[in-house]
Amino acid sequence: MLEAYPDSRLARILLWSFCALVMAFLMLPTLVVVPLSFSASNLLEFPPRAYSLRWYETFFGSATWMAALRTSLILGTLTAMITVPLGLLAGISINRLGGKAAVTIQGVLLTPSIVPGILLAIGLFFVLAAQRLVGTLFGVLVGHVVLAIPVACIVLLPALARFDWNQVQAARSLGANWARAIGGIIIPQLQISLLSATLMAFLTSLDESVISIFVASGQNSTLPKLMFLSLRDQIDPTIAAISTLWTVIVVVVVLVVTLRQKS
């Protein structure tokens, strides 16, 4: 776009150097953690003088961290399993209804993504406290599902808009009921988007910290909650090891989603 300015080479060089700095700023905190996680020292020295896997051993050897990891993985899986069917049905409903009703439903379903996490967290805490459900897996799960619903909708709605609804019409006129049309036509054709929605819902739950901090406790503490608490108290390279593993998992998941979408 700017190539129309042959005399502005200096400006372009300045612009790109500035960009390089900003991109370094964006990537630095994620990257700095990786070498640190392989450090052999107790201190946060950079670059580490000697390398080892001791912080990974500490992580995998700790009953507390492992319990949190288990909780987080269970929560993520349950969240994805509950959210995606709900999101798909709601998406079909929004797409087929159209007009004011669709706008209203979509607006309501997207509210959890606009309301600050801290408000959802304390509100949910109050509601759960009234039912004596604070600290249960159920409480955190409900919180995670409600955060994942907008994410699933955002992934699925464009796919449903592209979907050729005449196929459903044809199936219906041949006597298929809606359940059959959804199971036999919509789901197979939206496979890739459904996979994306599943992974995104899983990641939303895995990454969620504020609701977990307020609502989860004891045995049901999630990995982010435990990380938050240890970041506040003391910082040792165990967190670097967890962070590295975490980043690798997320990058792999995102790569799978994007590559799948392209092919």
Binding site: M1, T30, V33, V108, T111, F214, S243
Partner: protein, 295 residues
Amino acid sequence: MTVLADPALAADARRERRFFLSLSLPALFIVGLAAILPILWIIRQSFLTTGGEYTVGNYEKVLSSGLTWSALVTTLELSLGTLAICILLGTPLALALASARPRVANLLMAFVMLPLWTSILVRTYGWLVLLRRDGLINATLTGSGLTAEPLPLVYNFTGTLIGMVHYMLPLFLLPVYAAMRDIDANLVRASASMGATLGQTIRTVILPLSAGGIFSGSIIVFIYTIGFFITPAVLGGGKVNPLSTRIERTLSTFQDWGSASVLGILLLVLMALVGVMFLAARRLIAGRSIGTAHA
């Protein structure tokens, strides 16, 4: 909907519509139960004493406390500061990306999006490592003799701001980049062929045409940052207390549910005010650009 002559067909259409409505009920139920009910509960709780009786005492207590007002000021300072830095850093970056070849731009966008995909706790930890007294940045600064003493970069306002800008920049960049990419390159060429300098073109062609994107990005930054909790809680080191950390402390440390709820409502009101302001500003900008188009 089309007018159907046959009453049987009309009844059919109505039945189908009811069926489609029912499909979204499970999702609506969960959102109602776990998002809308909790917000309503905060409003209810704000009028209750610890014993569960009706009171307005929570409001008197919270609104007359100096801590509340300083939390409000800190919240706004953090949001405005983050927004200003995002505009300063993000707009040139979006311009460079939009002017790059699509392949290069896509690759660079993937790198820009990397932090978006990393856990907020991972990033916060990364910043702690970088910004601490004996961290990487201070070690580099003192090692090279640029500063004699390590700079206080974290556990204060500066550290919190850095963490928040880092979180928001990719989210700000997305709409700005999209807006700039959609600018017709012929307009820029036309401007160049008429003798405009690069600076003039940026000021009079590119920025006005991407104002919508910058605006959307600004709304996103504001709405997100007003409720930010993790970053100030960790990188602020207890010294930076916006409404969010005040809420947490009031609830967890003082077990004062009523006051925490009042602070929560304050946060909601602030968000609503900012939302209304942005909408009004958007209408104003839209009105003005239509005016100039007719002139």
